[in-house]
């Protein structure tokens, strides 16, 4: 596993170069990200840890192409995400990105099976195939038998498992999880995190997880502490993953 990984190390999957994001609110400017540079490699689980308002979500959204940086470059798999137009960025997301949200964000009128296959519906996968894929994802997150349930008929933990299945069903290269356990109790948090991490490891996917909960960082290969829009420090977990070479941009000044 290590060897396999080190092969990928030469070229990062995600390159973030001197990214700055400033929100303008009338007269006032809010610097959400100051100057952030970071490389993320295929198969990594990276955790962004920081207090509320530190800029974690902003970082995630920009890598996912949901927002454009004020300055700097974001390159994912060789593609300059910040230069893509709406249509291209949608295609990019369809192909490469899965999202797990804090508040699950399932569509209430759809059943579990339908919710999970929704990303495939948008990608025009035919019904037979997408149902099969969705069922497989359901099995992977331990939701077999819940096909016809609606979100309102399920607990938070179950709903988040639907959310996870929806994120992985299309086998995206990268999975983004913004506070995925923010609404869950500690026991369920553990359950859900294990599912996510196992899925990602199994499929050799890359996971970027954003949280203010230190316990979550236990699951990560690297923990990036972020404060006031700058990277404060990077902690590499486990000796095996040590050869990672991180480039830390921005200083405390």
């Amino acid at each position: 596993m290590v060897d396999e990984k080190s092969a990928d190390l030469r070229k990062p999957l995600i390159e973030v170069k001197h990214v700055r994001k400033v929100y303008r609110m009338g007269e006032e400017k809010v610097v959400a990200l100051d100057d952030v540079s970071l490389d993320i490699y295929k198969g990594e689980i990276v955790c962004f840890l920081g207090t509320s308002g530190s800029g974690k979500s902003t970082f995630l959204n920009m890598v996912a192409g949901l927002e454009k940086p004020t300055k700097g470059e974001i390159i994912v798999g060789g593609v300059k995400v910040h230069k893509l137009n709406e249509e291209m960025v949608t295609l990019f997301r369809q192909k490469n990105v899965g999202f797990i949200f804090q508040s699950y964000n399932l569509l209430p009128m759809l059943t579990t099976l339908e919710n999970i296959s929704l990303p495939l519906v948008f990608r025009n996968v035919d019904k037979r195939k997408r149902d099969a894929m969705a069922k497989e994802a359901m099995r992977a997150v331990g939701l077999k038998g819940y096909e016809r349930r609606r979100p309102s008929q399920m607990s938070g933990g179950q709903q988040q498992r639907v959310g996870i299945a929806r994120a992985i069903v299309g086998k995206p290269k990268i999975i983004f999880a913004d506070e995925p356990t923010g609404n869950l109790d500690s026991h369920t948090t553990q359950e859900v995190m294990e599912i996510i991490v196992n899925m990602v490891r199994e499929n050799n996917q890359t996971l970027i997880i954003v949280t203010h909960d230190r316990t979550i960082s236990e699951y990560a290969d690297r923990v990036i502490t972020i404060q006031d829009g700058n990277i404060l420090g990077i902690e590499v977990k486990g000796v095996a993953k040590n050869p990672l070479k991180e480039s830390v941009g921005g200083s405390n000044g």
Partner: protein
């Protein structure tokens, strides 16, 4: 996203807010219903006008008069229309030939009217007589219910309008014709005496003293047929005789009364038969261009139909307003629905929905409201139409009927109307949904996602 998935998802969303969707659909139902019902009343009105005019005469016929004198009498409804500048054009064979060549004209006959007394045995009747070209009468769609029609070469031959046989009476038994509809004598016979003498067959006591000096000729005719067209006032009370014979009788009559009979100034009237009613106006115009006066039932029909159309437009306008309200209802429903679902829209965008798909989702929702509302509205319209034509018929016909004829249907829904209505209501839906759908498409995914 394929169309089936879009349709499915849109349906789901509509069913989710049943009350609101039903209200929006109800708006469309009322609008469509109002439009169809009101238009159908207009069509019913037009139809009843036509029906009542057909009783008065043949809608295919244009009657032509020379500009100077001649005319009169015949223009019952609607009246004739005069020429612009030309005057004193003779209504002769040359003119008739020219009329026959007008596109859409299938037959032309000169016409001369008179009033004669008919005797069959001891029975007599005084009947209005129309002289026509015997070979033309069939071209005018005058059909016989008994016997045969006039044919080319017929001389002293006549056919009866179907109400005329009933007017024969025995002058020795009654003072005049006590018309009962039941003929007392068989009119299809070789021995009909025809004369211009009003007093023919009357007991002598009524004679004015100087009338003895005028001696009218008597002619023997053969009655060969009775015309059908029972409901048609134009033919029902006349006897038809070849025009040359009528002219001869009129000439003899003038001679007997020591008056001049002008044979050289052309015919006093002509009848022009137009195959297609739609062409009547054009043909009339052309004939007037030639310098003649015309009159036709169709002129009257047109006036009445314009009136019907106007009523229809006013009613339809009311319907259109209610549909406009329905359109606002759809827009409102869609805007509400988009506000409510802002977050979902954000989610869909983030997990990979294409922007045009988002727009389609909402457009299709609006279209479904329009379509379903249209469908139900059409159903309701037919029900309403049925009601108007049955239970409400007596009440409504007394309000709406101005044509005089008997109204059998207040509301007529032509086949194209529901189809057009369905297309229209769906289009209204799409149109009403367009701007909300655009808004949904253009909302920022992240902003939407933050919306709680």
């Amino acid at each position: 996203m394929n169309n089936l998935d879009i349709l499915g998802l849109s349906m789901r969303n509509l069913l989710r807010r049943k009350t609101r969707s039903i209200l929006a659909v109800t708006g469309v139902i009322i609008g469509i219903c109002a439009i169809i019902a009101t238009l159908s009343i207009g069509f019913g009105l037009q139809e009843s006008f036509r029906a009542s005019l057909e009783q008065w005469g043949n809608l295919h016929l244009v009657t032509v008069y020379p500009t100077s004198g001649g005319g009169g009498g015949y223009a019952v409804v609607g009246g004739g229309s005069g020429p612009q500048d030309k005057k004193n054009v003779k209504l002769d064979e040359k003119a008739l030939n020219a009329m026959e060549k007008i596109n859409g004209v299938s037959g032309v006959s000169p016409r001369e009217d008179t009033y004669l007394t008919f005797g069959i045995g001891k029975y007599i009747a005084s009947i209005s007589v129309i002289g026509v070209r015997p070979d033309m009468i069939e071209k005018f769609n005058y059909e016989v219910q008994e016997g045969r029609n006039l044919h080319a070469g017929d001389k002293n031959v006549l056919v009866f309008g179907n109400q005329t046989p009933g007017t024969f009476y025995n002058p020795r038994k009654s003072w005049g014709s006590s018309y009962s509809g039941k003929p007392v004598v068989d009119v299809i016979t070789d021995k009909i005496v025809v004369t211009a003498d009003w007093n023919y067959g009357q007991p002598q006591r009524n004679l004015p003293t100087d009338a003895n000096k005028v001696v009218y000729k008597e002619y023997t005719f053969k009655g060969v047929g009775i015309l059908a067209n029972a409901e048609n006032y134009e033919t029902a009370y006349n006897v038809y005789i070849p025009i040359d014979v009528v002219r001869k009788i009129n000439e003899d009559k003038a001679k007997a009364e020591k008056q001049r009979y002008d044979k050289t100034s052309g015919y006093r009237q002509a009848m022009v038969f137009v195959d297609n009613i739609e062409d009547v106006k054009r043909v009339s115009d052309t004939i007037r261009e030639m310098g003649f006066q015309t009159s036709s039932m169709n002129d009257a029909l047109e006036t009445m139909q314009n009136q019907a159309r106007m009523i229809q437009m006013i009613l339809g306008g009311i319907g259109a307003i209610s549909l406009l309200v329905a359109a606002l209802g759809i827009t409102n429903t869609m805007i509400m629905s988009i506000y409510e679902r802002t977050k979902e829209i954000g989610v869909m965008k983030v997990i990979g929905a294409n922007l045009p798909d988002i727009r389609k989702l909402f457009l299709v929702e609006a279209a479904i409201i329009g379509f379903v509302g249209g469908l139900a509205g059409i159903g309701l319209s037919y029900l309403l139409s049925l009601l108007m034509n049955t239970a409400l018929l007596p009440a409504l016909s007394s309000i709406l009927n101005s044509g005089g004829g008997e109204v059998t249907r207040i509301s007529i829904i032509p086949l194209w109307l529901p189809l057009a209505a369905l297309g229209f209501s769906t289009a209204i839906g799409v149109l009403s949904g367009y701007s909300p759908a655009r808004r949904a498409m253009n909302m920022s995914a992240l902003e939407s996602l933050r919306n709680e």
